[in-house]
């Protein structure tokens, strides 16, 4: 199924790389326009490179650069930095969050929205982001709601929300996905990806070759 425009709403630079970069690259190759609204700069992350090359002062700009590089690797045409602060989204003014997301929906009229599954995404910012997205879309008339594909990875998620219902084979887009992961060099070190032609490595293909989503069901 092809989408004209996808809106991705995630709180941290790097939230895109493991779970959806392949899916986005695949849609983009088929002509989809992608807007990625990244709510914070991940300025409270603990990873600073090893040995550390970032600190609390320099990290926001370093992560911004890494995010831009990742978007370029994936082919994302439109990156929006939303200016919220890492770790604070669950305490943020909900009306303000919903307003910002509502403005994006009105401007872009996306045919698909991708975010975290609220309650099943481990980090409080992930859950708060997903909650704001489904809250805002839930206020629209049912016919006006774009489908929402969610990422979930908390330990308890399968008991509550079952198996994912969207599987995307991204084995043809591992180069883009690996480049996206490697962009976030202050955050991740995946030894396998530094080998020669990592996209041809069987283990890498098995670990990264399929992306999974849950379609959010509005009450």
């Amino acid at each position: 199924m092809e989408y004209q425009r996808i809106l991705v709403v995630l709180p941290h630079p790097d939230d895109e790389c493991f779970g959806i970069s392949g899916t986005l690259a695949k849609h983009i190759a088929a002509g989809t326009q992608v807007t990625y609204a990244c709510l914070t700069l991940g300025e409270r992350a603990r990873n600073m490179g090893n040995p550390p090359f970032a600190n609390r002062i320099t990290l926001p700009q370093i992560r911004r650069g890494e995010l831009e590089q990742s978007c370029q690797a994936i082919g994302i045409q439109d990156l929006r930095l939303m200016g919220f602060h890492d770790k604070t989204l669950e305490f943020e003014d909900q009306d303000l969050l919903d307003l910002k997301i509502g403005e994006l929906l009105a401007e872009l009229d996306p045919s698909l929205v991708i975010t975290f599954f609220p309650g099943f995404a481990v980090h409080p910012d992930h859950d708060a982001t997903g909650a704001a997205v489904v809250r805002t879309i839930g206020k629209l008339q049912p016919a006006a709601r774009p489908p929402v594909h969610c990422l979930a990875f908390s330990h308890n998620h399968r008991e509550s929300i079952g198996e994912p219902d969207v599987f995307v084979d991204v084995s043809g887009f591992l180069k883009q996905k690996i480049a996206s992961i490697l962009s976030h060099r202050s955050q991740f070190y995946v030894p396998q990806l530094f080998e020669k032609n990592p996209h041809k490595n069987r283990e890498v293909q098995e670990r990264f070759g399929t992306e999974r989503f849950w379609t959010y069901k509005f009450a």
Binding site: R44, R46, M48, P51, P52, N55, K87, V122, H123, P124
Partner: protein, 114 residues
């Protein structure tokens, strides 16, 4: 970031005493601590841009290091500091990183807000 040199830090602490300063003080196990290991208790705190003033400030230990700042009516304390930003002449930026490079603790002092 460079490994802490105590003489350099002590000089900077001395030059920042007896004046209003903005502080960033933080301790964190990371949001994924319990997700990765259920025996771990996740905890974190930070305070940013509180205004403080100390009369005595010193660094001690053999690394990781401790810093104590004595204020008129209380104390500021941080343990586990390993690195500082040698390129930032105006502000004192210190952090403690664990063996995998992850930030565990941060103590920063500045005459201007962060």
């Amino acid at each position: 970031m460079l490994p802490i040199q105590t003489v350099e830090i002590q000089n900077r602490l001395d030059s920042l005493k007896d004046q209003d300063l903005y502080i960033h003080l933080e301790l964190t196990t990371g949001a994924y601590a319990a997700h990765n290991d259920s025996t771990k208790h996740p905890a974190a705190n930070f305070i940013t841009n509180a205004l403080v003033r100390y009369g005595i400030g010193s660094i001690s230990g053999n690394g990781p290091y401790r810093v104590g700042l004595k204020m008129d009516k209380g104390w500021i304390y941080a343990e586990g500091l390993t690195h500082y930003d040698e390129t930032d002449a105006e502000r004192l930026i210190m952090a403690g990183h664990d063996s995998s490079g992850k930030l565990v603790v941060a103590l920063q002092l500045s005459r201007e807000p962060f």
